[in-house]
């Protein structure tokens, strides 16, 4: 007789039969990819619709639209930052100019995070081995995940397109179904390419973090090359050396060039094939880029949880600092020539972005918004790293030893602040170096102040992340990145259109003065810092009082 072990079990959902055992990996991954695609498609669609509607409301007369086109169309600064501005006297041209670059970058980030999560992330967690025990091979399983990523991409495009088409059909907007579908396709093209990039880096790297870092570095390089190509310094041919440049050349809504979709499709397909071949060429759990299994003990930083945190994240953080320093240097280089084009309504638009100065300082004020966003990503990464340490069970090793929970989390917060402040300093110092190289005339102290001015919004993001970590740990990542994504969206949309101040106030970047285009608002910065620190402290208290939670 079978023993009754007295275990209480409750079946909460029926187990559904069906599906082929040979495609179970695809089914397993598809649900996650499609769900994520739908969510981000909503964000993309809302961004497009919001841009179209705000243009119609803001620029009502032909004269206003012509003035906008005349000034933006010649601005090297905005061209470098957001891509070429053409046909700004139309809703289509304005929308393509205003929203494309933000969606391209967001799409790339979504792509690389999703594919590295579903490929190398599953391997890191040990679930990949279980899947490989089924009726599949390493290549087959990788191909199935890539197919499911394709399904996620289709979901992203479909939701984006539905909202874009609905918005375009509004009589005041007047964009047809075909152009809206084509524009939506162009907007998810970077997502497609970076899904494939992430699939390849998942084979190259030994860990998910490393895979995401490789892909992010490639994204940074692509943006940098495109920026130089569009900076009006006679190097426009470089646009073909950057995947972001290819999307730019698709020219949706203005003068469609469907042939430019060819390199995008070819790049994506080739990388997908390479990823599958690499997966077959390596052992499960191993990486193409040789990873050393043995090593000398380096004990310098291993004095406790904070030291370990510094050691674990130093490569990633240095990568961020290099990206911030380089981009700030580039912004400094172009600030003088770009600033010379700042007149009329461009000045007005930069002013809506918060940068009220004239010339180079106004350009740098707007450019530094991108640095603030990068520093916001660093802050979000710090919080999600802390949550990962808990969910993966590594935190247990500390808190079952004489380490208090508040001590552990407080240490992580101090490390995060130690990382964020130099990030702002790097932006200021390298921005000044670039500007000084071109004899722009901006002082070191003003740019250093402008760099430090970028830190308070990141502290708010950090604080909200820690608060979520304390109260609802499983929602930490989604809430933290949602705050960052929302703030980015609102500040971009708000910079170009009419948005209620109530909505604008929900963006952390809206409260940051666009220094050096205008003086840093240290009162607002103090309030933001206080809000962030208070939220973090409440998060620490909540963390002390809750159960530790796994995934």
């Amino acid at each position: 007789m079978q023993a009754n072990l007295g275990i209480r079990a409750r079946i909460t959902a029926p187990v559904r039969a069906g599906g082929s055992p040979a495609t179970v990996v695809a089914a397993f991954s598809r649900r996650k990819a499609v769900r994520s695609g739908i969510l981000w498609g909503y964000i993309f669609g809302v961004a497009i619709a919001s841009s179209e509607i705000s243009y119609v409301k803001l620029y009502k007369t032909a004269a206003q639209r012509s003035a906008l086109a005349a000034t933006f169309g010649t601005s090297k600064a905005t061209s470098a930052l957001f891509g070429p501005a053409t046909q700004l006297q139309t809703v289509s041209g304005f929308t393509a100019f205003k929203i494309s670059m933000a969606l391209m970058i967001l799409g790339a980030i979504w792509g690389l995070l999703t594919s590295t999560r579903l490929l190398r992330g599953e391997e890191d967690a040990g679930r990949w081995d279980l899947l490989l025990c089924g009726q599949t091979t390493r290549r087959g399983a990788t191909a199935q995940v890539i197919a499911s990523l394709g399904a996620g991409l289709v979901a992203l495009w479909a939701v984006t397109a539905i909202i874009a088409v609905a918005s375009g059909l509004d009589s005041s907007v007047g964009i047809g179904v075909g152009p809206s579908l084509y524009f939506s396709l162009a907007m998810v093209a970077t997502a497609a390419m970076f899904l494939a990039v992430g699939a390849v880096t998942s084979q190259l790297a030994a860990t998910r973090r490393q895979a995401a870092s490789f892909a992010a570095t490639f994204l940074g390089a692509s943006y940098g090359v495109r920026l130089i190509a569009d900076a009006g310094v006679g190097l426009h041919g470089l646009v073909w050396a950057s995947p972001l440049g290819w999307v730019e050349e698709v020219q949706p809504l203005t003068s469609p060039q469907p042939l430019a979709l060819l390199p995008i499709a070819a790049f994506t397909a080739v990388l997908a094939v390479v990823a599958v071949r690499f997966a077959g060429a390596r052992d499960a759990g191993a990486s193409i880029v040789a990873d050393r299994d043995h090593g000398e003990a380096h004990l310098k930083l291993l004095y406790g949880p904070s030291g370990l945190a510094i050691r674990s994240m130093r490569a990633t953080v240095i990568g961020w600092w290099v990206a911030i320093g380089l981009s700030a240097f580039l912004y400094g280089l172009i600030a003088k020539s770009a600033g010379a084009t700042v007149t009329g309504s461009v000045k007005g638009v930069l002013s809506k972005l918060g940068s009220t100065g004239t010339g180079a300082d106004a350009v740098l004020g707007a450019c530094f918004l991108i640095e603030a966003i990068l520093i916001g990503f660093i802050a979000a990464g710090q919080v999600t790293a802390a949550r990962t340490e808990e969910s993966e069970g590594m935190l247990d090793h500390f808190v079952v030893r004489p380490v208090s929970r508040s001590g552990w989390l407080g240490g992580r917060l101090i490390v995060a602040l130690v990382v964020l402040v130099p990030s702002g300093v790097a932006a200021g110092v390298f921005g000044w170096l670039g500007a000084a190289t071109e004899h722009t005339g901006l002082s070191f102290t003003s740019l250093l102040g402008a760099g430090i001015n970028l830190v308070p919004p990141a502290i708010v993001i950090l604080g909200i992340g820690v608060l979520t970590f304390g109260l609802r740990p499983r929602a930490t990542s989604i809430v933290t990145y949602a705050v960052l994504g929302w703030s980015l969206l609102i500040v971009i949309v708000g910079g170009f259109g009419t948005v209620s101040h109530w909505v604008l106030d929900t963006s952390v970047f809206h409260h940051m003065a666009s220094a050096p285009g205008m003086p840093a608002n240290w009162t607002a910065n103090g309030i933001m810092t206080a809000v962030g620190v208070t939220a973090a402290l409440v998060g620490v208290l909540a963390f002390k009082r809750r159960d530790l939670q796994g995934r």
Partner: protein, 298 residues
């Protein structure tokens, strides 16, 4: 009188409507090795997580050396070391780096003993954690716990993934720890391990402690297994006082006896028994008796 290494009073944990641990009263004395048994989901790991302060009790309290586990976790953790059944470590650190980190965090590291343990457990400390097998990762957290010579070792399925040789090494280490006066609280599914190591055993069922005592005490309360073989016919034992579970097989019979064995011996002798084997129940049989048959604790 010194505070006991481990004491719980009415310790209870609920997850929503599910009672994972139900009013646990438990005390472990200094130098004792106590086994903690129960099937999956019985509440063993929940008990340990409450003792470690990783989750909050719904009711009751737990103390380690007199310190409240919930409100004085740092003080309790200075006196104990914990080994989990699943070794989730930092993949980019080597074994040596992991041991150095955990030793520094705990304090009281005995470096010579650490090196001895590395040798006894046959661990390559230069390897990165991500390159270790499951068993080798388990060795790392075992060494990390033992090397600081804590007053209390809390072990949750500590030999998960270890080969039999390493399991033997582990048993020697626990014996040595007990000989030094350290206390051990061991949750395990391996009955032979618990039988070989533990002075007392507690059995948990549905979050309740249904049995607690030494093996001798538990055996005394349980049935004796008897096997007999005869030249002639097997006698009818069903009416013999204290005898149950009679199974006749040709010229042999098996049964269980509770209480005095004298009435059974008399019947067997009268029937011309040629072979007689009696055996005390193993811990595994005691454990299964708690959960077997009718599904009610015995």
């Amino acid at each position: 009188m010194a505070d006991p290494p481990l004491r719980t009073e009415g310790l209870t944990k609920r997850f929503g409507n599910v009672v994972a641990l139900d009013h646990l009263d438990l005390e472990v004395g200094k130098g004792e090795v106590v086994g903690y048994l129960g099937p999956n989901g019985a509440g063993k790991t929940t008990t340990i997580r409450l003792l470690l302060g990783l989750c909050r009790p719904s009711d009751g309290r737990a103390e380690i050396f007199g310190f409240d586990c919930q409100h004085q976790p740092v003080e309790t953790h200075r006196r104990l070391a914990f080994v989990a059944g699943e070794a989730n470590l930092w993949p980019s650190l080597t074994g040596a780096e992991t041991l150095a980190l955990l030793g520094r965090v705990h304090g009281g590291l005995d470096e010579a003993y650490r090196d001895e343990l590395i040798e006894r457990f046959d661990l390559d400390p230069t390897k990165k954690v991500r390159a270790y097998s499951k068993g080798n990762r388990q060795k790392v957290i075992l060494i990390a716990a033992l090397m600081v010579r804590p007053d209390l070792l809390v072990l949750d399925e500590p030999t998960s993934g270890l080969d039999p040789l390493m399991e033997q090494t582990f048993r020697h280490c626990v014996h040595e720890a007990r000989d030094r006066g350290q206390t051990v609280f061991l949750s395990s599914h391996i009955m032979s391990e618990v039988e070989a190591l533990c002075d007392r055993v507690g059995i948990l069922r549905d979050g309740r402690l249904v049995e607690m005592g030494t093996l001798a005490e538990m055996r005394h309360l349980s049935a004796l297994s008897v096997e007999a073989r005869f030249d002639g016919a097997v006698p009818d034992l069903s009416a013999v006082p204290g005898v149950s579970a009679v199974q006749a097989d040709g010229s042999a019979v098996r049964c269980q006896v509770r209480g005095s064995i004298e009435p059974l011996v008399k019947i067997l002798a009268a029937a011309g028994v040629t072979e007689l084997l009696s055996r005390e129940p193993s811990l595994e049989e005691l454990f299964l008796a708690q959960y077997g048959g009718d599904g009610h604790a015995g």
